[in-house]
């Protein structure tokens, strides 16, 4: 509930557990919902399972138990063929950027549009605009190895948001940029959030969290979720209960 109205969940985790191979569970008993249009920070010490949780969110990993729904559709047992349709609705900023080294900054940012089937004419303008927004208009033809860490991070962010995703997932998005650029990127995220994008940011940056009023916080410790603010806890309703 927010302001007396029921918020539509965009993400629903129901008793989610995750283990890699035969190791111990890195995530356990995660029960939560993220509301459409919400802004969430994911915090916790290193090794708490933040990156694993984000992988579940952007469908790079399947849970070993429990059920996941995204955009109102149950995806736990979804076949490979249906996943791309959902991944295209998610923007991801990876901690290690994951830029394709042999492609220019322009081509890296344009990739989601091209994969979505946009024509070259439809790609040119938004990509130039986005690169300008992250301060890299003059580095459009540069390849990632020639960019600084901060520049690579901005290219990664530009790639994540170029499609106006419904869900934006960012893993330490301001880890390699200066304070001014961090504020600028946060402004980009809040602007997208105001346009309706649900934002989930994993960060250790307390300044970032305190600069985003209204954002909710998910705290992970040892693979389990704590609820420091008391506003997130929202166990899913039983099946069939609308």
């Amino acid at each position: 509930m927010r302001g007396g109205r029921v918020l539509t969940p965009i993400v629903e985790f129901d008793s989610i557990g995750l283990r890699y191979g035969t190791g111990a569970e890195v995530l356990r008993d995660l029960d939560f919902r993220l509301s459409k249009g919400g802004f969430y920070f994911l915090t916790g010490p290193s090794g708490a399972g933040k990156t694993s949780l984000l992988k579940l969110l952007y469908l790079a990993q399947r849970p070993t138990r429990g059920r996941i729904s995204l955009f109102g559709e149950e995806l736990t047992d979804a076949t490979r063929d249906v996943l791309p349709r959902f991944r295209r609705r998610i923007g991801v900023v990876f901690q290690d950027f994951r830029l394709i080294r042999h492609l220019s900054a322009f081509d890296n940012v344009a990739l989601p549009l091209r994969i979505g089937g946009a024509s070259e004419e439809a790609v040119e303008s938004p990509v130039r605009e986005m690169l300008a927004w992250v301060g890299l208009a003059d580095r459009a033809s540069a390849r990632p190895p020639t960019l600084s860490g901060g520049e690579q991070q901005r290219v990664a962010i530009a790639r994540a948001v170029i499609n106006r995703p419904e869900l934006l997932v960012a893993d330490e998005p301001t880890g390699n940029v200066d304070a001014e650029m961090a504020q600028r990127l946060l402004h980009l995220f809040t602007a997208l959030n105001r346009l309706g994008t649900t934002v989930v940011v994993a960060t250790h940056d307390i300044g970032l969290i305190s600069a985003t009023p209204g954002a909710q916080m998910i705290r992970l410790e040892n693979g389990a979720m704590l609820d420091p603010t008391g506003v997130l806890k929202n166990p899913p309703h039983p099946r069939g209960d609308s």
Binding site: Y58, R80, F86, R87, F94, R98, L99, I100
Partner: protein, 289 residues
């Protein structure tokens, strides 16, 4: 149907490598060359076997060990036998010329006794037994030889060699497919990071597959053209009798249908490589999340 083959410049940049990089085109070139040479040999053998079989079906020889002494009587007996056509005595000079090929100058020596020989064809329905009786009556000691019986082992050898050639073509085709599977897996390993990023952004398996399918199809096309042209040049040299092998194959020819089959081999290998690459890439991608 072939839209995957025509990639945009941005799609081509995704895999980032130019054609003729890596071993795939050269492996395909060697396979195409080998398959075409083996197939050409097999087709030439088939042609030779067919001509030998056709030419010997109705042909007989009469061998007279005493030389030309009984030749006129034997020739008369053959010509008067029912069902016989085109009976001719082989001139001694021709016989010695043939012997000379095998024995050298000694074969042409008058000291070497040479049997007299009559060659004739029979029409359908003629009785070899009746002809034999007539010849033996006219020239005691004469020996009637059916060419199809004499050349039977040769024909069987030619047929066996044809099967060997067919098996070799199939084996080489299988080896080509295996090489393409390895190349596809190698390409997937090389570009694993790019694929993961593309998948993460929402690329489908088919979008990723098209990139690799196209690259391997181009490599296969270039390789099969190189191998095909090289094989064609070798076959032309052989056909022109420009080498010792040409001499050996002088009697063998390739018909229009044979040439069409040979020309289709590079095309078939390109199609095979493309199909195998697609199947291998899709199978590998399906093991991902």
């Amino acid at each position: 149907m072939f839209d995957w083959f025509f990639a945009s410049p941005s799609e081509r940049r995704l895999l980032g490598s130019r054609a003729l990089q890596g071993p795939t085109p050269w492996v395909i070139a060697i396979m195409t060359f080998s398959i075409m040479i083996v197939a050409a040999a097999g087709l030439a053998l088939a042609d030779t076997a067919s001509r030998v079989a056709t030419g010997t079906q109705t042909r007989f020889s009469v061998q007279l060990p005493d030389g030309e002494r009984n030749l006129p009587a034997a020739l008369q007996a053959v010509r008067s036998a029912p069902g016989v056509s085109d009976a001719e005595a082989v001139p001694e000079a021709d016989m010695r010329k043939i012997l000379e090929r095998w024995l050298g100058p000694a074969g042409a020596s008058a000291d070497l006794p040479v049997p007299a020989l009559i060659v004739f064809d029979v029409r359908a329905g003629a009785s070899a037994q009746a002809i034999r009786q007539r010849i033996e009556a006219a020239a005691p000691g004469a020996k009637l030889i059916a060419h199809r019986d004499a050349l039977g082992p040769l024909l069987r050898s030619l047929r066996a060699l044809q099967w060997v050639a067919t098996a070799l073509v199939l084996l080489l085709g299988g080896a080509s497919a295996a090489a393409v599977v390895l190349a596809a897996r190698g390409a997937l390993d090389t570009h694993r990071f790019t694929i993961e990023v593309m998948h993460g952004i929402g690329a489908t398996d088919h979008q990723v597959t098209h990139l690799f399918q196209r690259k391997i199809a181009i490599d296969a096309l270039i390789g099969s053209l190189i191998g095909g042209v090289a094989a064609a040049l070798v076959l032309l040299a052989l056909a022109a009798g420009a080498s010792f092998a040409g001499e050996l194959m002088g009697g063998a020819t390739l018909g229009t249908l044979d040439l069409v089959i040979l020309a289709l081999i590079p095309v078939a290998l390109t199609v095979l490589a493309t199909w195998v690459a697609r199947a291998a890439v899709l199978a590998t991608l399906r093991t991902a999340v």
